[in-house]
């Protein structure tokens, strides 16, 4: 059984800066995988390369055995992606975005309409039926992004910071959807820097630090007896210990 996502030796350098340095990760089928790391650790770069949005300098990525770069059409039908902060077709309404993308994915029109209806109502976007995406709030953008990722019934979801700027109620809805997706046999990779969230949702975790994998595996193995946050700070924390204070605020 091939892994849902297999990342092997991915590297990316931007100018002088090594953003991702030989990252290997295996996301088993049916797992809910959390990728954690500090800002700038290389999470987004790794995920972009894994799904074919950024060309790696070295290494490869396979989705259910299909190479993302040599067999993109197979790989890309199997995966649903939610990138962080990318634009959408901004002058379409939410429903139009889904119709458009569904047809691009080659789905029959009636299937597209049915799924769009369901997605919009579950994600509570149907109230903004006439609003163009450009006028959406950040949280709404996340939700329509998630809807586009789910639309073609992928078997793997790759989500970059799916909960950022999402209100608690919507977050709960999204969590339910994602748990249901995994329960139904799907696999998910999500990146986050909120440890509690990853502990709550994921069964596997990978810690990325300075472009390298610092630890990876089932959640309980990685965190051991402590909390994920403690493990994380231990793995990536700087050596000078203790956090610093702002002198003019604390005196």
């Amino acid at each position: 059984m091939p892994a849902a996502l297999e990342i092997h030796g991915l590297c990316k350098t931007f100018g002088e800066k090594v953003a991702v340095d030989h990252v290997n990760l295996t996301i088993p089928q049916g797992s809910f995988y959390g990728l954690v790391g500090q800002n700038g650790a290389g999470k987004t770069t790794t995920l972009s390369m894994a799904v074919g949005l950024l060309r790696p300098d070295e290494g490869h990525a396979r989705i259910f055995g299909a190479d993302v770069w040599s067999d993109p059409s197979t790989a890309k039908t199997l995966v649903g992606v939610l990138p962080d902060g990318m634009a959408m077709p901004e002058r379409l309404t939410g429903r139009e975005v889904l119709t458009y993308l569904g047809l691009l994915r080659g789905l029959p029109r009636d299937v597209v309409d049915r799924r769009a209806d369901e997605l919009l109502s579950v994600l509570e976007l149907d109230v903004a039926e006439k609003t163009l995406v450009i006028e959406y709030s950040t949280g709404m953008r996340k939700k329509i992004g998630l809807a586009t990722a789910l639309l073609h019934a992928p078997r793997l979801l790759v989500l970059d910071e799916p909960f950022e700027a999402v209100d608690p109620v919507s977050a709960a809805t999204i969590k339910t959807i994602l748990r249901g997706f995994v329960a139904g046999g799907g696999s998910i990779v999500l990146s986050s820097h909120v440890m509690a969230l990853v502990e709550q949702l994921c069964d596997h975790v990978g810690v990325i630090d300075k472009g390298r994998v610092a630890a990876a595996g089932p959640l309980d193995e990685v965190r051991g007896t402590g909390s994920l946050e403690d493990t994380f700070v231990e793995l990536v924390g700087t050596s000078d210990g203790g956090s610093k204070e702002l002198t003019w605020l604390s005196s």
């Binding site: 074919g52 992606v81 077709p89 309404t93 691009l104 994915r105 450009i134």
Partner: protein
């Protein structure tokens, strides 16, 4: 003055950081062009006040209308940066005004305004002294008029009516500027500037500085005071207006809120067409561009009617097509990172859908316009029917091709500031692409035009054929490029940098440009930007005008020379252009060869 000084320092810092590589080349090129114009202005000052006021009127129009072309004008310091500081609008405006004086364009305009000092010096000491405040006030008037115009346009672009109105106004003004010779002919003055024009130019704010200096020369003190005071008053009023407009500037441009037609498409290509067609009708910036192109085409072609010549009238359609292609050339750039969706759905043909949508929004108007006006003037049918399909196909091919090969990374639509014209920070490149596409679009019609001129009706077949060929072939090239370099284009869009990096060098066209030392980058950038001037206008266009025996001389050097020198000059200019381009190609090529030789052991 603290706020003002800080803002000036900020601007200097930003400018210093952004002067790299190709960008610096563009700025340098622009500065060079500006210096030439400024020098011309000072020479005009030697020939007297009449010419000078007219020239300053053109400078003012440049300041006011330039931003429409150049992507919203100078926005190095955006008002949004300071919203949290709680500055009063007047304070903010005066700070931004001070910062607005820093830059290449104001410096060059100030240089051009030394024409006032030249004029004054010729009339005596007092006039020379008066010219100094006149220069500064005049510059302030230019800069402020520009800012206010951009702000007003920004407000206009929030509603459909405003966008259309602004597009009409801008198109009409620019078209008449392009056809200003018609006005001169009509007024019966083919050698100098008609008095009506100079009179009008003196009344415009751009002429008040000249009026002040002239009046000082003839010791007409009330007039001096009125002119200088008028400018000072105008500066205060414009500053207040700008401050008021700054508070109104908020959020991105609103989309039209008309009833939404449901998408009826059932196929992938239909879906792309539906998406693009909706974007064309809902994005007010695109509405503005199309209206502008239409107004420009109609007025450009209609202007000669003033002197009773109808020959140009039916060309409104073709001119509209060319202008529309130029305005929408950065098609992918304006959509920003939405490109990721195209990358995630390989096999869906995004390029063709965009081409169809462009044709759908341009072709019907162009056809109706051309046919209708040709009916009025009675032809020339073969030529028109040959050129129009060639241009439509050429435009549809070019907008796709240029937007992926010459992609200018833009700001994502939902992240744009309060200036809807501002879709990218690289306004020099935007202007460059507009002109390049103008040129290229005209070239796409060349085979058809030549065939129609030689063969008559058979030219129509050539036009239709070449049109289909451009549309199909250029689109195919664009599609291939998108497929092969999609991730690199997306990365460019995401980072806003034109060149991707990385040791394996998978970047777009791998010219090795970014590996060059900085001074060579500037030289190469310069070669690519300057090369067009001798090659196209001074070479090919001048040659074309000479071949067709056109009376226009404009700024085509060759046409001012004695006849026996004209053809050699044209040939020389073409060769010069080619040589400059060749230098631009050879420098990185040589460097790459050197580095390859160095990296291969033995």
């Amino acid at each position: 003055m603290a706020v003002e000084l800080t803002m000036v320092r900020m601007k200097v810092a930003v400018l210093r950081h952004s002067m790299t590589g190709q960008r610096a080349g563009f700025v340098f090129m622009g500065a060079l062009l500006g210096l030439t114009l400024a020098a011309g202005t000072i020479i005009a000052a030697l020939s007297g006040a009449d010419l000078l006021v007219a020239v300053y009127a053109v400078w003012m129009l440049g300041w006011v209308l330039g931003p429409v072309f150049a992507g919203g004008g100078d926005e190095t310091l955006r008002p949004e940066y300071f919203t949290l500081l709680g500055l009063r609008p007047r304070r903010l405006a005066s700070g931004l005004l001070m910062a607005a004086f820093v830059g290449v364009a104001p410096a060059i305009s100030l240089l051009a305004l030394t024409g006032l000092a030249v004029l004054g010096a010729r009339q005596g000491v007092v006039a020379a002294l008066v010219s100094l405040p006149a220069m500064l006030l005049q510059l302030a008037v230019f800069v402020l008029l520009s800012r206010v115009a951009v702000a007003v346009l920004g407000l206009a672009l929030r509603s459909r009516v405003g966008a259309i109105g602004a597009g009409l106004a801008n198109g009409v003004i620019l078209a008449f500027l392009g056809q200003i010779w018609v006005v001169f002919v009509v007024l019966g003055e083919t050698d100098g500037i008609p008095p009506v024009v100079t009179d009008l130019a003196r009344r415009l704010p751009s002429g008040w500085g000249t009026v002040a200096v002239e009046a000082a020369g003839s010791a007409d003190w009330p007039r001096v005071l009125a002119a200088l005071g008028g400018m000072a008053l105008l500066v205060v009023l414009l500053l207040a207006a700008w401050a008021a407009l700054l508070t109104r500037r908020a959020g991105a441009s609103r989309a039209a809120t008309r009833g939404r037609r449901p998408i009826r498409a059932t196929t992938a290509s239909g879906a792309v067409l539906a998406k693009e067609a909706r974007t064309w009708s809902r994005d007010l910036v695109r509405t503005h561009q199309l209206t502008f192109a239409l107004a420009y085409g109609v007025c450009f072609a209609a202007a000669p009617l003033l002197m009773g010549w109808t020959g140009m009238l039916p060309w409104a359609g073709p001119v509209f097509v060319v202008m529309a292609a130029a305005m929408s050339a950065n098609l992918y750039g304006t959509d920003g990172t939405a490109l990721w969706l195209t990358l995630m759905t390989p096999g869906a043909s995004d390029v063709r859908g965009r081409q169809h949508a462009w044709l759908l929004s341009v072709a019907p108007l162009a056809v109706v316009l051309t046919a209708g006006l040709a009916l009025v003037t009675g032809g020339p049918w073969p030529m028109l029917l040959a050129v129009l399909p060639a241009l439509l196909g050429g435009g549809a091919g070019l907008v796709a091709l240029v937007s992926v090969y010459g992609l200018i990374p833009g700001t994502d639509p939902h992240r744009r500031g309060g200036n809807p014209l501002r879709s990218t920070d690289d306004d020099g490149a935007v202007t460059g692409v507009v002109y390049a596409v103008l040129m290229l679009a005209i070239l796409t019609a060349a085979p058809a035009a030549i065939a129609a001129a030689l063969l008559g009706w058979a030219g129509v077949a050539v036009g239709v054929l070449t049109g289909i060929l451009w549309y199909w072939g250029l689109g195919l090239l664009a599609e291939r490029r998108l497929l092969a370099q999609g991730p690199e284009l997306l990365n460019m869009m995401r980072t806003g940098r034109r060149s991707s990096s990385g040791p394996s060098g998978t970047a777009g066209v791998r010219t090795g440009f970014e590996d060059l030392p900085r001074h060579e980058q500037i030289i190469v950038g310069l070669c690519f930007t300057v090369g067009a001037i001798p090659l196209f206008p001074q070479g090919l266009v001048a040659g074309y005008l000479k071949a067709t025996g056109s009376p226009t001389r404009a700024w085509f050097l060759a046409l001012y020379l004695p006849p026996w020198l004209q053809w050699p000059t044209v040939v020389f200019m073409v060769l010069l252009g080619v040589a400059i381009y060749a230098t631009g190609v050879i420098i990185p090529y040589r460097r790459r060869k050197l580095s390859r030789a160095a990296s291969t052991p033995g």
